[in-house]
């Protein structure tokens, strides 16, 4: 009896000392509920970030759910302080693998991203986030607030100071509002021009100089191009007159943004999404000698000639 008790007591004492050491080690770990432990584990198990790849010296990447830009063909990447999803806000049906055409500028001296931001549908604004020092510092410029659900978006600069933004939104069936904003201070502030008052869906638009700009309308089954022109930086808009030869009626239907060519302006009019004339890719080239008010037919061009 005596030996049994003393033996048991010693064993218990040793057992408790080991238990204390074991308990101390266990207890030093943070306590977390099981579901949170699993969540943490899942986060750790997430695949490692994919390496980013650049095709051009100045390029962007949308991989790993983050917009990054590079100025050295992918050797180093700079994150852009804009959530990826915001860049695709509004009417967008793509796969978010590439940025929306014309919604960004990526040059050595200016990087800019145009997007719609806001928590609720009613409380959205149009923002341009830009950097003039290759991503070292960023500014947010509010272009319009509030602005309903955005569809068409385009930003471009003609020089360091002058730039334009064209956006459209609030689409119902085949009607929407479209607005033009101009900056004369390199993007810090934006001022809306007078409205063209056209409610057809906008197809394209742009300025060729600080006063002369165009808006092209009609994207769904257009029958003829509808081009509006301003020659006073958006104070007034008038419909341009395009003389389409009879044989091209209902063939060349959507006007692109005119470009300057020698001492006149040139305009390409394409066949729209349903065009099938000579395979559908051929465009009509038109020339204007009065700064965009009237346009005369020049020639047919194949896609390669226009690029």
């Amino acid at each position: 009896m005596r030996n049994f008790m003393i033996g048991t007591a010693c064993l218990m004492m040793i057992g408790l000392i080991i238990a204390i050491i074991f308990y101390q080690n266990q207890n030093s770990k943070p306590i977390l509920p099981l579901n949170e432990v699993l969540e943490e584990k899942a986060e750790q198990d997430e695949p490692k970030q994919q390496p980013l790849y650049a095709e051009h010296p100045i390029d962007y990447s949308l991989q790993n759910d983050q917009l990054n830009i590079t100025f050295d063909k992918g050797k180093s990447w700079i994150p852009v302080p804009v959530e990826k999803d915001k860049l695709f806000n509004g009417e967008y049906s793509g796969n978010k693998q590439t940025l929306i055409e014309h919604s960004y500028i990526l040059t050595k001296n200016r990087v800019a991203f145009l997007y719609s931001d806001g928590l609720s549908w009613e409380d959205q604004k149009i923002v341009l986030t830009y950097s003039l020092d290759q991503g070292k510092t960023w500014q947010d410029s509010i272009v319009a607030q509030p602005y309903p659900s955005i569809r068409f978006r385009k930003v471009a600069f003609l020089n360091d100071e002058f730039g334009y933004i064209i956006v459209s939104g609030d689409r119902t069936m085949s009607q929407e509002m479209s607005n033009v904003y101009l900056t004369k201070d390199g993007g810090k502030s934006w001022k809306e021009t007078n409205n063209s008052n056209v409610t057809r869906l906008i197809a394209d638009g742009g300025f060729v100089d600080e006063n002369t700009g165009f808006l092209s309308f009609g994207t769904i089954n257009p029958e003829k191009p509808q081009l509006y022109v301003t020659q006073d930086a958006g104070d007034t808009w008038q419909e341009a007159s395009i003389n389409i030869p009879a044989k091209y009626n209902e063939i060349f239907v959507i006007a692109e943004t005119p470009v300057k060519e020698e001492n006149h302006l040139a305009l390409f009019i394409n066949q729209g999404p349903n065009g099938d004339y000579k395979g559908g890719k051929v465009k009509g080239k038109f020339i204007s000698n009065d700064n965009g008010v009237t346009w005369g037919f020049s020639t047919e061009v194949t896609p390669n000639e226009t690029e």
Binding site: L16, P33, L34
Partner: protein, 285 residues
């Protein structure tokens, strides 16, 4: 007479020895559960207290059952005292690192258990089993500063009001019961639809949210700012802080038919670190 005394000593000694073995088995079993099933003592300090208890029982049992020389009494006694001191020190060190908050419900049926990691400010709410065992259930969403005010608003509802590291006030409601028969989950907000009145206070719950009228001051909370706990309470939040907790009292009955007016009362409890009492409200219409 002497024989009787000896028998009593023997029985007492054997009982203490069995106690020691029993608690020793509990302690080892606990360590097994702790590592395998994430089970912890409701209060971490219990581990050390049980250790000390085992040692005292063991020492007393030996003294009662067997005769040992004075020399061994001194050696054995010293070891036991040292063991107890080590456990007391570890108990304080451990409680400094992980602060235990344990409150038993007024009817002694439930235990509210919280553990705060004082270093990280992370506080975890525990579900308890058989009073002394617990498993972590949920972390508090904000870093805590160690100030907790616990109040049992009903036998099965404990409100924890605490300060976050950024000095904002929050509430966590531990719930241990049900007012709907326990058969199904239900939303507390819709079961409160209507107007409720109490002393100097009114609560109106409708489609838009819940309005609290307190001393003539209106406070509106839309449903996005109302957080439900269990099936017994909601916390109304404003500016990222808790403002009020509304709990269903024990006489409240949840009826799945929304056209039937609610029966029973509810409690309104302000989120403040100062001492305060819940206000009971009755259904008006």
């Amino acid at each position: 007479m002497k024989q009787n005394k000896n028998t009593l000593k023997k029985i007492g000694g054997m009982l203490l020895f069995l106690f020691a073995i029993g608690f020793f088995i509990l302690q080892i079993g606990y360590l097994f559960l702790h590592t395998t099933y994430q089970v912890e003592y409701t209060d971490d300090r219990l581990f050390y207290i049980i250790n000390i208890f085992i040692m005292i029982c063991l020492a007393a049992a030996i003294l009662l059952l067997i005769s040992i020389t004075k020399k061994w009494k001194v050696i054995g006694g010293s070891i036991i005292i040292l063991f107890i001191i080590v456990n007391v020190v570890l108990l304080f060190i451990n409680n400094h690192q992980i602060k235990n908050i344990v409150r038993i419900s007024p009817d002694f049926k439930h235990v509210l258990a919280l553990k705060e990691n004082t270093k990280t400010g992370k506080t975890v709410y525990y579900r308890t089993y058989y009073y002394i065992l617990a498993r972590p259930k949920e972390s508090f969403p904000y870093k805590t500063t160690g100030e907790f005010k616990v109040k049992w608003l009903a036998k099965d509802i404990a409100a924890v009001t605490y300060k976050a590291a950024d000095n904002t006030i929050h509430q966590y409601i531990g719930t241990y019961g049900d007012r709907g028969g326990g058969g199904s989950y239900y939303y507390v907000g819709p079961s409160l639809y209507g107007r409720w009145e109490g002393k100097d206070v009114e609560v109106i719950s409708n489609q838009e949210g819940i309005t609290v009228v307190h001393n003539g001051k209106y406070e509106e909370f839309d449903w996005d700012h109302i957080v439900q706990f269990g099936t017994l309470a909601v916390v109304l939040t404003k500016n990222n802080q808790a403002a009020w907790a509304i709990t269903l009292n024990e006489n409240f009955e949840v009826d799945s038919n929304s056209s039937v007016p609610p029966s029973g009362s509810i409690s309104l409890y302000e989120a403040t670190m100062a001492k305060n009492k819940p206000i009971t409200l009755q259904y008006v219409h």
